[in-house]
């Protein structure tokens, strides 16, 4: 099954040049390489800071765009790793191994299997 590990962190804790932050950033590449070697890796991407982003929406057929989002909360989505894992517990174990788990948190989400019924809310 596929799961995505969404990596959230406070950029002020990751890019502050502290020894802990530098160590985490140095471990990120090797961990990706490990996941490739073990066959878990599907793909991974890091995201630029939200100030580089633009948010669009369409209401009543009209498109509007705004800069940002600007950080309302301290933690933001900083990147993701799409993995192939046997089950949720294996995905959790892989997620816990991502170096950024030491500075922020990792949300492990199963990828939708379209053969299953849609949720009814």
């Amino acid at each position: 099954m596929r799961y995505v590990c969404l990596i959230y962190f406070d950029p002020r804790k990751v890019f502050n040049q502290s020894p802990e932050a530098l160590a985490v950033l140095a471990e990120a590449g090797p961990y990706d390489a490990e996941l490739k070697a073990s066959g878990h890796m599907v793909m991974s991407q890091a995201l630029k800071l939200p100030k580089e982003a633009i948010t669009v929406q369409v209401r009543d057929g009209k498109m509007s765009a705004t800069d940002g989002p600007f950080m309302e909360t301290k933690e933001m989505l900083g990147g993701f790793i799409l993995i192939e894992a046997r089950d949720l517990n294996e995905a959790v174990r892989i997620g816990a191994g991502i170096p950024f788990a030491k500075l922020g948190f990792i949300e492990v989400r199963p990828i939708v299997d379209f053969s299953e019924p849609r949720p009814k809310l």
Partner: protein, 445 residues
Amino acid sequence: MSTASARDLLDAVYRTQARRVLATLIRLLGSFEAAEDALHEAFAAAAEQWPRAGIPANPYAWLVSTGRFRTIDRWRRQARLAGVLPELTALAGATPEPALPEHIQDDELRLIFICCHPALAPDARIALTLREVGGLTTEEIARAYLAPAPTIAQRIVRAKTKIRDEAIPYEIPVRADLPARLESALQVVYLIFNEGYAATQGPSLTRVDLCAEAIRLGRLVVDVLDEPEALGLLALMLLHEARHATRVDAAGNLVLLEDQDRSLWDRRRIAEAQALVERALASRRVGSYALQAAIVAVHAEARSVGETDWAQIVTLYDLLGRVDPSPVVALNRAVALGMRDGPEVGLATIEAVMGQGGLDGYPLSHAARADMQRRLGLAEAAQASYQRALELTRQPAERRFLQARLNQLAPERTTDLPGFLGPTTPRKRPLFAPLIDSARRTPPA
């Protein structure tokens, strides 16, 4: 070899070997997490190499050694990166012993014992056993127990953290601890079986696989430990499974033991179970599972209800009441007594047992009383008892059965199966007679 056939082969090896490889890797690497990583890496390496180089002669040994080597290699790299060298030398130095079949079985048994450790919550024991020993995925366990996957995942994560933090050893318990630890392990296996068994009328058919998995676990224990209760539990599960198909009809209605088509019972499983029960009883350390299995085996052996050796069943319930006294056992004994000595004795004994308390909320006690009253022609009393049983029952198939009984009583006429009233002719030689006699002389510890 074509890619497709190589993949099929690898899948087959995964199904049969993955749990064993994991069990051995946990021992060699000293942690669940490291072993899971190693297992995955070993299979990733196999997927890459086997299609080119062919399947190794001993896939289990290849996977264990590849997984172990790659993990130690990774730890070395990490240690260099972190500038420290943990206790790698000891791990890397020791060459694993050759994989003798009994070592593999021991590893699997260790895994069962650690997953069923009494320090873990009962829910966690079940989830961990099904995942680590049974090879089910978190999502499959969640479906089987109708629980959200993150709930099950949490249980497993917490249990593993506890195993690591409390340094619960990965071992087959020593003699002195064995009875308590075995009891906990057998209980987990039986709970898994019961979950699958009770689910026959449930919404999800996949739950039935739990029965097969529980039987496989039961066999695993029996293969290594010649313990009477382990033999008894395996026999008990095989006997239930042997009659599984006849328990409900095509419409999902409950079929009573007396009405089941006995020609459909799985005679091969029954014979296997009988041999196990005999071995368990011969040990003279008779426990609850062995006695329950013996009782079911006596039922299974009879070609009809009329031919059932009720005298032997009563004796077995007497023994069970000594080993594992409970109101439910006393009630079952009373029902058997009613079958042996007639409904009058049965009704008096059932009422005496119910008078001692603890059974008022138990629907089967009212149903059993109703049954004896019905046979004695006490239609009104029987109706009241069935009514009480119906009020206490939620299970749809059981409710339909009780309602049908009530409907039968309404036209003021009791229907009875011929040969079902009163005592039955005793068999010439009871199935477990010599063993029961010896068990009687030696009260269980």
